[in-house]
């Protein structure tokens, strides 16, 4: 098992702009191996862009990105080989069946036939997709598509998981399986960086949490450190988040809407 003190992902002074919009504003991150790391923030705060920068899908304007000891800019393909990526509401190849899609993913990551068969069948059974795996994905429900994309992120045994809203559209049983699986994988040294809007999940699952706002890193730490930063002892992540992001005027907004 990898040492927990070893960095899995290291971002240093990373910035990204899209013309006049600042997507990521000079952030530093150090995610340790075997950690479940939560990226939180309101819509448009730069979470998804940060995940894409880590994978090498978006080239930062400045700063350096190191993933599993590899410089992303120098060798993005080597990084991609070791990462399982689940984007938010992705488009799948809808003309493939579920099994064809997973077989395709297995081939892309160079899995051998026996390993592919075993792992695909295990996941299909666990997430209750058995019986529908021969159907074209175009006929799947949103939840089934999410299960398929999650399986595709896991089957090649990646060392780093980048998950953007992984539990959206999942039924409670499948969501629980994924949560338990992430914990188990973390104990085996697999690192997970997860972006989510469901604060209860982040609070329950993540070792460390980063709160982003307008591309900046507002706060970073475990729950206790975040409480101290927000000066809200004993409170939950939702209150901390609302206070730190300056959106605690929820009550006033609701009252205004009800007028």
């Amino acid at each position: 098992m990898a040492s927990l003190s070893e960095s899995a992902v290291k971002l240093k002074g990373v910035a990204k702009r899209y013309s006049d919009i600042v997507a990521v504003d000079y952030i530093d991150l150090d995610v340790k191996r075997g950690e479940i790391f939560g990226l939180l923030g309101p819509n448009g705060s730069g979470k998804s862009t940060t995940l894409k920068i880590i994978l090498g899908l978006v080239k930062p304007d400045s700063g350096s990105v190191n993933v599993l000891g590899i410089n992303v800019e120098e060798d993005p393909v080597a990084v991609k080989r070791q990462v399982g990526y689940v984007p938010e509401s992705p488009r799948l190849y809808e003309f493939l069946t579920g099994i064809e899609y997973l077989d395709f993913v297995g081939d892309v990551y160079g899995m051998n036939a026996a390993e592919k068969k075993e792992r695909i069948n295990e996941y299909l059974e666990a997430l209750e997709l058995e019986g529908r795996e021969g159907d074209m994905i175009s006929g799947y429900s949103q939840g089934m598509k999410q299960k398929t994309i999650l399986i595709s992120g896991f089957i090649h045994k990646p060392k780093l998981l980048l998950l953007d809203e992984p539990l959206s559209s999942l039924d409670p049983r499948s969501a629980r399986i994924i949560k338990d699986l992430l914990h188990e994988l973390a104990s085996q040294g697999v690192t997970t960086i997860m972006s989510t809007h469901v604060l209860e999940i982040a609070q329950a699952m993540c070792n460390h949490i980063a709160i982003m706002y307008e591309g900046r890193l507002l706060a970073l730490g475990n729950m206790e450190e975040l409480r101290q930063k927000a000066r809200l002892p004993g409170s939950d992540l939702e209150d901390i988040f609302l206070k730190l992001t300056g959106t605690e005027d929820v009550k006033d907004v609701v009252e205004a809407l009800l007028k």
């Binding site: 894409k52 994978l55 899908l57 978006v58 080239k59 993005p76 393909v77 080597a78 991609k80 080989r81 990462v83 990526y85 984007p87 992705p90 488009r91 799948l92 190849y93 809808e94 003309f95 493939l96 069946t97 099994i99 064809e100 077989d103 395709f104 297995g106 081939d107 892309v108 990551y109 160079g110 899995m111 036939a113 592919k116 068969k117 695909i120 069948n121 529908r132 795996e133 021969g134 159907d135 074209m136 175009s138 006929g139 799947y140």
Partner: protein
């Protein structure tokens, strides 16, 4: 019916064109001037044509010629409603076919307080916008202006609304066809089980080939003949409601008032009935979702596959396998197989006299060269242009997968070559059976077609990478139009360069005496091979360079 809702729905449809044009939608402002430029331009063109006709007609001194021209104009006016009907039907059907792949573009916002009448009317009218409406405006304004000079203004006043009614009739028919085909597809999926995907493929292939042959026949010389025969044909099939508008016009010119009124009212009634049917069908099947296609049942057994044995990596083989499934399962990609088929069938049908023209017997070698060179080369160009852009919204997977630029180009290029070569081999067999060429001519044509495939495939793949467009709504674009246009021009020039050494030989074989230095076939062919290899090498390397940039700038 709330007319404001209908107008709003139409404007939404018009705005979907922003995505087709690939403009940035952030802080988007529609420039009304450009929005209406097409229609303004069509009107101006129509007025200019009308004026030219009028001035030309006025300047004819000979009375007999004037009468012939006048009769011709009347004949044209009478045939216009039926011609516009056929033309609009083809255009609206084409537009629906292009949108067919995207569910979201045809699904009405059913959760909003919109009635099926409003939705159907908006959909029918929106379908006419663009070139259909522009051409009606153009024809209408030309008629209006020319009629003043020809002194047939009352007929023109009757013709212009008839054209609009014909277009609406066509669009309503298309709307009915669209709803029915969705329901029919569902029934086919359900009944054909695992074979559904192949039933769909072959069915679409037959439908599209027939459709495009009719289209090409209509837009080629056959349409000129059609104008002359439409009026006669209208009288023969007077019981078909689609020609009643033309019949009303014919009756009007003959001064048969009762017939004019009866046919006009019957046409109106027919339009209303068709619209009612479209509304009812939309109400019944508008939200119908075809059942999922089940392709495989039973235990999953991974296969090694031929491509792995041929030395491709598992990733490259996986991408090629995936692309094969895309081109045989996605309806919007199937026309890649249709165009080469049409390009082979059209000259063949002309040769065999199947298009109502006299069969040609002299141009056999030319026919053979055309059948062999065109479909395969065309397929290589089209596939090269589309093969990266067809990834659409799913391209994120390609970006996030550990694929290298070399691997991407290798698997996409191999796919283009395999499919284009299959087409060329099939075409050679047909060509040999029909045209019986000499051995030398057959071998030379076959080698040249392979050279074109390899060279133009590499050129077009590079263009497909640079110009890839992943926008899928309201229809998949796959490549930016300007890049596609430039690529076609470059391919045409390069094809000429590759074929140049053989042109004197080919021309002599066909039997045209040309003052060109004759190069022996055994010398000309190797020169052509060398040129093709150089072009292929340069453009393949360029495609790899383009792919490196493409993967590095993967901003999804």
């Amino acid at each position: 019916m709330n007319w404001k809702t209908v107008l709003r729905l139409i404007s939404v449809d018009v705005k979907s064109g922003r995505l087709v044009r690939g403009r940035k939608v952030r802080r988007y402002r529609e420039r009304r001037f450009f929005q209406y430029l097409l229609y303004g331009g069509a009107c101006a063109l129509g007025v200019a044509v009308g004026l030219l006709v009028g001035i030309f007609y006025g300047g004819i001194p000979d009375l007999e010629t004037k009468i012939i021209l006048y009769d011709g104009a009347i004949l044209l006016f009478l045939s216009l409603p039926t011609l516009v009907l056929i033309y609009s039907l083809i255009f609206t059907l084409m537009s629906q076919i292009q949108r067919g792949g995207m569910k979201s573009s045809i699904q009405p916002p059913y959760w909003m307080p919109i009635t099926w009448e409003e939705h159907t009317l908006a959909s029918t009218l929106a379908n006419l916008l663009g070139f259909s409406l522009a051409s009606i405006i153009s024809i209408g304004s030309a008629i209006a202006v020319a009629s003043v000079f020809l002194k047939i203004v009352p007929l023109a006043i009757f013709v212009i609304p008839s054209l609009l009614a014909s277009a609406f009739l066509a669009s309503t028919t298309t709307e009915i066809f669209r709803v029915l085909q969705i329901r029919l597809i569902g029934a086919v999926y359900k009944s054909s089980g695992k074979a559904a995907v192949w039933v769909r493929f072959i069915g679409s292939l037959i439908f599209f080939v027939a459709f495009y042959i009719v289209w090409f026949a209509f837009t080629s010389g056959a349409s000129v003949a059609a104008i002359g025969t439409v009026v006669g044909a209208q009288n023969a099939v007077w019981f078909v409601p689609y020609v009643w508008l033309g019949m009303a016009l014919a009756a009007f010119t003959e001064g048969l008032l009762a017939h004019t009124i009866i046919f006009s009212l019957a046409s109106l009634l027919f339009i209303l009935i068709l619209f009612y049917v479209a509304v009812r069908l939309n109400g019944k099947f508008g939200l119908y979702e075809p059942p999922a296609i089940t392709i495989s049942r039973g235990a999953y057994v991974p296969k090694t596959g031929l491509l792995r044995k041929l030395g491709f990596s598992s990733l490259e083989a996986a991408v090629m396998k995936k692309d094969f499934r895309a081109f045989t399962r996605r309806r919007e990609l199937m026309y890649i197989f249709i165009m080469p088929l049409v390009f082979m069938l059209m000259p063949l049908m002309q040769y065999l006299g199947a298009l109502g023209q006299s069969p040609s017997t002299e141009a056999s070698p030319f026919l053979f060269a055309w059948i062999l060179l065109m479909p395969g080369a065309l397929m290589a160009v089209m596939l090269g242009n589309m093969i990266v852009g067809q990834e659409g919204g799913s391209v994120w997977y390609l970006y996030s997968s550990p694929i290298t630029a070399n691997g991407l180009v290798k698997c996409k290029y191999t796919f283009i070559i395999i499919f284009s070569c299959i087409v060329t081999i099939a075409c050679s067999i047909v060509g040999i059976l029909v045209a019986h060429p000499s051995l030398n001519f057959a071998v030379a044509s076959f080698v040249e077609s392979l050279l074109l495939i390899f060279a133009l495939g590499a050129v077009s793949l590079g263009a497909g990478i640079i110009g890839a467009d992943f926008v899928e709504i309201p229809r998949p674009k796959m490549i930016r139009p300007l890049t596609a246009l430039v690529n076609v021009i470059v391919c045409f020039v390069l094809a000429l360069v590759i074929l140049a050494p053989l042109i004197p030989y080919a021309v002599t074989t066909i039997g045209i005496p040309l003052p060109l230095p004759m190069v022996d076939l055994y010398v000309a062919l190797p020169i052509s091979v060398i040129i093709a290899i150089i072009i292929t090498y340069i453009f393949y390397k360029k495609a790899i360079k383009d792919a490196k940039e493409f993967l590095a700038k993967a901003e999804v």
